[in-house]
């Protein structure tokens, strides 16, 4: 596939790195200085603006299959995509960072209608949604919602006193309708078997129906489901912070604090948010956090535009006694480090966005639902093709490192066991690590077993 990437920043680099081996890439950036980084990859690099038609023509836009605009400027991205599709590019993906362009559904439609943009990706919004899901599932460190909310995915870090620790998975009494789809132990993520034993410090990923997951949450974190009002502190009232605050505000039983250092931005937040208390000050200002008793928060979310300050704010929060701390990481390399020093959840907005784009390109007919543990495992959705024989799961030649988490059949959701059958037309939610994802896909596209 011939792909043009406009913008050689973090997103552009991550995309190029993931796609360079398989595809024919051309990267455009106005800064010559970023060219060095791309020199190590097998890509063509052109210096200049993505909004110049002559440059796009030099990048052979007329034969190009996909144009991805991911500069830091929304307007540039929109113009580049528009120009690209005018000049004959088949498909365009536009990254945006502000709400203006995607505020309403009409906004999205007009983007595709007037500008020829096929897909808009707003990483900050995806991040904010992820943070909200994690907050709304107390005790979890990652959360996903699939099949219109019928299926939920939760990731927990196991403490020494967790009821799941010490026994083999086959011996656990999990609520009916819940499966453990992945276990993260040490540095490795594996798909568990009945004999797998869970240890303290492991992270487990569970999938199940909505009702079953509620029962599971009561089991794993009884104190969080007691119905008490939960206190959430958000440090940094930027795009992500505001979005998370807006979402949480509509949830009952949440008391919200937002710490923002910029006076004008603070006033804007106070005007926009109805019930949240806006505090003007630095998220790393110990005296402020102490006098406002931030330590009594159940969750602290730090979404400043700076990894170091986020880390500091989280560590202070943790020291003051906050229940769990969530932060954003801009540099993907810091992800591991953050979790090592005790941050409960570290999320990378760009990482998730890049993974979803890469999967779109390489994933064929399946769609990516979630990326677990920095890409070590994925949750993908597959449709069982017509003509595929209806067989019991235990007879299916599944790869070792893959598990079917749920079957969506019409309006029904089945959390399968060995004797359950799959039928043509079923949608399967599969959790798989690395190469196994490819094998599962191959299994269902060829139709052989």
């Amino acid at each position: 596939m011939q792909i043009i990437i406009i913008g050689g920043g973090e997103i552009g680099y991550a995309l190029a790195k993931a796609l360079a081996d398989e595809h024919e890439l051309c990267v455009l950036d106005t800064e010559l200085s970023v060219a060095d980084r791309f020199g190590l990859l097998d890509v063509e690099f052109l210096t200049g603006s993505g909004t110049s038609s002559s440059l796009l023509e030099r990048a052979r836009v007329e034969t190009c299959d996909l144009l991805i605009a991911c500069t830091g400027l929304d307007e540039v991205n929109i113009v580049a995509c528009s120009l690209g599709s005018q000049l004959g590019c088949r498909r365009t993906i536009c990254f945006v960072s502000r709400e203006d362009f995607v505020h309403t559904t009409e906004g999205r439609e007009s983007l595709s209608e007037h500008f020829g943009i096929d897909q808009v990706i707003w990483p900050e919004a995806q991040l904010a949604d992820a943070i909200e899901r994690i907050i709304m599932a107390p005790g979890s460190v990652d959360a996903g919602v699939f099949a219109g909310g019928e299926i939920r995915l939760l990731e927990f870090r196991l403490g020494a006193d967790s009821p799941l620790v010490g026994k083999s998975i086959a011996a656990l009494s999990l609520p009916y309708g819940v499966v453990i789809v992945a276990v993260h132990h040490g540095d490795a993520t594996t798909i568990p078997h009945g004999r797998t034993v869970l240890n303290p410090g492991d992270k487990v990923v569970l999938m199940g129906t909505r009702e079953a997951m509620k029962a599971l949450q009561r089991l794993l974190s009884p104190e969080a489901s007691s119905g008490r009002a939960r206190v959430v502190t958000i440090i940094g009232g930027g795009d992500v912070g505001l979005r998370v605050a807006q979402h949480l505000e509509s949830e009952p039983g949440i008391q919200l604090y937002v710490v923002e250092h910029d006076h004008a931005r603070g006033e804007m937040l106070a005007a926009t948010l109805g019930n949240a208390l806006i505090l003007e000050g630095d998220g790393t200002d110990l005296s402020l956090l102490e006098s406002e008793e931030i330590g009594r928060s159940d969750v602290l979310v730090s979404v400043i535009d700076n990894d170091e300050r986020n880390l500091l704010a989280c560590l202070i929060g943790r020291q003051l006694g906050v229940g769990s701390v969530i932060t954003r990481v801009s540099t993907p390399a810091n992800l591991r480090l953050f979790e090592l020093v005790g941050i409960d959840v570290a999320l990378s907005a760009r990482g998730a966005a890049v993974a979803s784009v890469v999967h779109q390109i390489d994933g064929g007919r399946s769609s990516l639902l979630a990326v677990l543990e920095e890409g070590q495992a994925k949750v993908i959705e597959l449709t069982v093709p017509d003509g595929f024989p209806a067989i019991a799961l235990r007879d299916l030649a599944m790869p070792n490192e893959a598990i079917i988490g749920s079957i969506v059949r019409g309006a029904d959701v089945i959390v399968p066991r060995g004797e359950d059958h799959i039928e043509p037309g079923d949608r399967l939610l599969v959790c798989a690590t690395g190469i196994s994802a490819e094998q599962v896909r191959a299994l269902f596209t060829t139709g052989s077993h």
Binding site: G266, E267, A270, A271, L277, I278, L279, E280, G281, L288
Partner: protein, 488 residues
């Protein structure tokens, strides 16, 4: 401050104001009250002549009024209009103090009267009395802005200085268009009420006078016993409806009429205003009912008197003077609340009470969260600091003015209840007070100096206190000059 320019703009308005006297002349001619015609003719001619003289005082066309000049034009226009409006009263033999009091009470839509015997006055004069309220209700300046050809002299400033309460809602991009829209709505509602009252059995002349003074939240009635004199329950219910509308924001009603009734529910001031009416009427009816009035009558009088006092209209459907002290306390409280911003009502206005309440709560919260960003909000929007400050100062000055006037009136010989309620009723543009200035009594017996003080209170109250007081600052007058001197 360029005095000649202020004169010019005021004169411009006055020339037009002279035409207003044609209406009572027509009415007097219709009822063959030939003797009264002279008063209106004299007043009209005076207005035209003085207006023309003032217009000529500044030869060249100046581009724009400055803020303080706009204030001076508004305050000055109201004063001169009230003085000229008193000429017909002088003509029929009232003393100058009484005539100006009655005229000012009309234009400021107060409704306080010095008339004792209504039978000696002609229908033309009583019509003029109602007309002054109708003009003053929507605002003298608003009328001029709406009707007169375009003024290139800082019209916007004039418009908002006069508007009651902190409001800056422009309905259309053009000020003149906005003024016109508001006057049309106002006139339309007046017409509807006139028709409704006529159908309910009130004579046409009385219907017209009452329709004009209801929408203005004024309260003058051609009947000595006010609404109680008609003994017609349907009339009272109709007037209740229109008093409620007169006390609500006209711009809001206009937008609701355009097919968006949702704006009424979303507007916090309107919601609170409605709630105040319902709660106060409930309690008032209860107290009246317990004192032995029949149930439906108690409810009707309770609601009518609640609306009459809250919207600062000042009609009486019954003599409430003998009501229990509990009931009177409610009326006194309502007097201190007033209607909505942007309505015809006077008083401190609902929105100012709400803002001050919220500000107080916010300050309490600030002691708990010294670093919190805690804005005061109304209808989901943040109230800017400078608006909040103006509201606070308004309140302080309003209370201070009340105290000073009460002191003056009581020292000049009125009893305490009379002095307090007369001040509140005039400064809030309500009309009747309690005691010797009660609903069936009048202000005629007060000391002449008291009348002058209360005339000033009405003027200041209608122009929302700060507008007038700003003009009393010495620096305004130190810099005042007749005409800019060209430098060579």
């Amino acid at each position: 401050m360029r005095l000649s320019l202020i004169f010019k703009v005021t004169g411009y308005f006055l020339r037009f104001f002279g035409l207003m006297f044609l209406w009572p002349m027509a009415m007097a001619a219709y009822y063959r009250e030939w003797a009264d015609l002279g008063g209106f003719a004299l007043a009209g001619l005076l207005a035209a002549a003085i207006g023309q003289a003032m217009w000529l005082s500044h030869p060249e066309r100046e581009p724009e009024l400055r803020r303080i000049e706009a204030l001076a034009v508004v305050a000055g226009t109201w004063l001169v209009v009230a003085l000229l409006g008193s000429v017909p009263y002088l003509w029929v033999g009232l003393s100058p103090v009484d005539a100006v009091f009655e005229s000012m009470s009309g234009f400021t839509t107060t409704g306080a009267t010095i008339f004792t015997d209504f039978s000696v006055f002609g229908r033309g004069l009583l019509f003029w009395r109602s007309l002054t309220q109708w003009i003053g209700g929507m605002g003298v300046i608003t009328l001029f802005v709406a009707v007169l050809p375009r003024l290139a002299m800082g019209v916007g400033r004039l418009f908002f200085t006069e508007a009651p309460g902190p409001t800056d809602q422009k309905l259309t991009p053009h000020i003149r268009q906005t003024a016109l829209v508001l006057w049309r709505l106002y006139a339309g509602l007046t017409l509807v009420e006139f028709l409704a009252l006529s159908v309910a059995g009130m004579p046409y002349y009385d219907s017209l006078c009452h329709a004009m003074t209801t929408l203005a939240a004024g309260g003058f009635s051609p009947h000595a016993l006010s609404i109680a004199g008609y003994e017609n329950a349907a009339v009272e219910w109709i007037i209740c409806v229109f008093m409620f509308l007169a006390g609500a924001n006209f711009a809001l009603q206009y937008r609701a009429l355009l097919g968006r009734p949702g704006v009424l529910v979303r507007d916090e001031e309107f919601r609170i205003y409605t709630a105040i009416v319902l709660v106060a009427a409930l309690f008032l009816s209860g107290f009246v009912w317990r004192a032995g009035t029949e149930m439906t009558e108690a409810v009707r009088h309770g609601l009518f008197q609640t609306l009459s006092i809250l919207t600062t209209t000042g009609y009486a459907s019954v003599d409430f003077q003998p009501w229990s002290d509990q009931a009177l306390m409610i009326l006194l409280t309502l007097m201190f609340i007033g209607g909505c911003a942007g309505s015809a009502a006077g008083g401190p206005k609902v929105i100012r009470h709400v803002l001050i309440g919220r500000y107080t709560l916010t300050e309490l919260r600030r002691t708990l969260h010294p670093r919190g960003v805690l804005p005061v909000k109304i209808s989901g929007r943040v109230v800017p600091d400078d608006v909040m400050r103006t509201v606070l100062v308004f309140f302080l000055v309003y209370v201070l003015m009340t105290a000073l006037c009460v002191i003056a009136v009581v020292l000049l010989g009125a009893d305490l209840i009379t002095g307090i309620t007369a001040t509140m009723a005039t400064l809030g543009n309500v009309g009747p007070g309690l005691g010797l200035v009660g609903p069936m009594a009048n202000y005629g017996h007060l000391h002449p100096v008291s009348k002058v003080v209360l005339t000033g209170a009405m003027w200041i109250g209608r122009l929302e206190v700060l507008t007038v007081l700003a003009l009393l600052r010495p620096e305004v007058w130190r810099l005042a000059h007749w005409r800019p001197v060209a430098r060579r």
